[in-house]
């Protein structure tokens, strides 16, 4: 809730600056391989995959107000489907493998969502966790997914002679295109009537029902879309590493991706993007032996302390930093502190 409604021109300015930010970020990502070495390309590919994963969760948590603590299940199912569906002989075509993996994840999301959306709040958090743990134990304890050791991907998918995802640069470009596509798709989705309904559910579900919306199908649809997008991220992850193991479904990963979007700032698609990059780069920073030497093996300490500092100093997440700075410049920080973290519906991008 914003205490004073900004003038129309100001809103347009804000929209422009957000668009500019996203466009610049994508452009920077596109230019990155020109200046980075193999390691840099590999790292950023991984971060972009996590950014897609974070975006999928942002649709649920930030836009709809459904805190899902089992998102890794959809990620993991997407990844496992990639490996299990790849035939023994020759590289599969991207054209059928990618949709199949997304659909597999979305199908599990449909099952989980249909049941768990009966509960609310913390109970919802825990039911989604329970279903993710079930998937985890199925993979972990049965020979289906290779057990605790995981399985290797036999050959990476191709698209005719056009795209060979085995080449790092091609894969980088493909991942970037997926990220841009998912971002654009979600931005459009949240502007649509459907997206407005989700924002309404987040702010006040009771009132949405009173105005005649049956909220359950909307929430379920958001859940399935989110699951499918997480499946896409899982697909990319499996192709990148060429290897899957049960850790991809563990609750640690569900927790981490949740931490990413909270760190970035909930209620903004940019937040998921920024959060994924910030989280991964903080990890890289504290792990770096060049800076911390021997101490780098205790990198969790630095990461934990930075997270605590973020919570204490940045109530709106990293996304809110420019606003906070601007408010401080105008000497209005004391006034701005009282406003909540929920944003108005039309600030979804």
């Amino acid at each position: 809730m914003v205490c004073s409604r900004p003038a129309k021109g100001e809103i347009n300015d804000m929209k422009k600056s957000k668009f500019l930010f996203v466009a610049l970020a994508l452009a920077a990502l596109a230019l990155w391989p020109l200046m980075a070495g193999q390691y840099g390309v590999d790292l950023v590919t991984k971060i972009m995959i996590f950014a897609i994963f974070a975006l999928s969760l942002e649709l649920l948590v930030g836009s709809t107000g459904l805190v899902c603590f089992g998102q890794a299940a959809f990620f993991g199912i997407g990844a496992y489907a990639t490996v299990l569906l790849t035939p023994q002989d020759g590289a599969p075509s991207l054209l059928w493998l990618l949709p199949a993996c997304v659909l597999a994840a979305a199908f599990y999301a449909l099952l989980v969502g249909a049941l768990s959306l009966r509960t609310k709040g913390v109970y919802f958090i825990m039911v989604t966790l329970a279903f993710a743990q079930m998937a985890y134990y199925v993979v972990h304890d049965t020979p289906l997914g290779g057990g605790t050791d995981g399985i290797y991907l036999l050959s990476k998918p191709v698209l005719g002679t056009l795209l060979d995802l085995d080449k790092p640069l091609v894969f980088y470009g493909f991942t970037l295109a997926c990220l841009a596509g998912v971002f654009g798709f979600l931005a459009l989705l949240l502007r649509s009537r459907f997206g407005r309904a989700l924002a309404g559910i987040r702010v006040n579900e009771q009132r949405m029902r009173a105005t005649g919306f049956s909220t359950y199908p909307y929430k379920l649809a958001a859940f399935v879309i989110s699951g499918g997008l997480a499946g896409l991220a899982g697909f990319l992850f499996a192709v990148k590493d060429g290897f899957v193991n049960p850790e991809l479904i563990s609750w640690h990963l569900s927790g981490e991706v949740l931490i990413m979007i909270i760190l970035g700032g909930l209620g903004h698609l940019r937040g998921a993007l920024i959060g994924a990059f910030a989280f991964a780069l903080l990890q890289e920073f504290f792990k770096s032996e060049a800076i911390f030497g021997e101490f780098s093996k205790h990198w969790h300490l630095g990461l934990g302390l930075s997270i605590i500092a973020c919570v204490a100093l940045l109530p709106r997440g990293l996304v809110g930093v420019p606003e906070q700075l601007a408010a401080r410049l105008r000497g209005r920080l004391t006034g701005a502190r009282g406003t909540g973290t929920t944003e108005v519906g039309n600030e979804s991008v």
């Binding site: 329970a130 279903f131 205790h298 909540g340």
Partner: protein, 293 residues
Amino acid sequence: MDLTTFLIQCLNALQYGLLLFLVASGLTLIFGIMGVINLAHGSFYMIGAYMAYALAPIVEATFGGGFFATLVVGLVLAVLLGYVLEWAFFSFLYEREHLQQVLMTYGLILVFEELRSLLVGDDVYGVKVPEFLAGTLPLGDLMTYPVYRLFISGVCLVLALGMYFVFTRTRLGMMIRAGSTNREMVQSLGIDIKFLYRVVFAAGVAIAVFAGMVAAPVSSVYPGMGNTVLIICFVVVVIGGIGSIRGALLAALLIGVVDTFGKVLLPQASGVLVYVLMALILLWKPDGLFKAG
């Protein structure tokens, strides 16, 4: 399964369930009363277990005391830790969204794990069972049962009864219950809610630390032990109904039974059983078994 084995498994289930209850009760108190989702609760259990390992020689040297002296020193430290933590990290979070607290407590987990690694190292340690509890009781003709496990069950039961008494029969308990229902109203009646919160938080931490110390000789002490306990405790809290001590007790015993017998009867599926149970219960009763209030 013959009768003796069955009896032993029942005792194991009871002991595991009661221990779970002890950890989960702190979690449900802090969540139900203060509205804080405390992911770091498992870390307090871990800290307790490591205290049992690391404090014992120090206490031995300074006080010459044994097991109980270590417990007392550990408890005092735990209360102090809880009090300071609430003051430093939680007191400014109550007005914020729940998810901000999740982020904060996640950061605390990382810090606690790493401090543990810096101070004690990453090895697995065993903790000795105190001598006067090291014996076994004969069960039937062939089987025996360790006295220490019975001791754990007994201590947990006493604590559970004590908590019940404090909650229902004392002025403090009344204030805590009132505070969980309506914070502003309690404050306007002249009760220092901030102090009350600090006390509740310190008590929750102390119970978890105590559980860790008591469990250390049975479970041994290893890195990451807090995380395993944390998730199971959340399951207990949610099945029981958030904020309900009674519900937590029932849920913990239920999980103790399901987990223990699952490991014996269906070893392939033992991990998943607890979660299936939780999903079923929540689909049947979306607010847990006992709604607090």
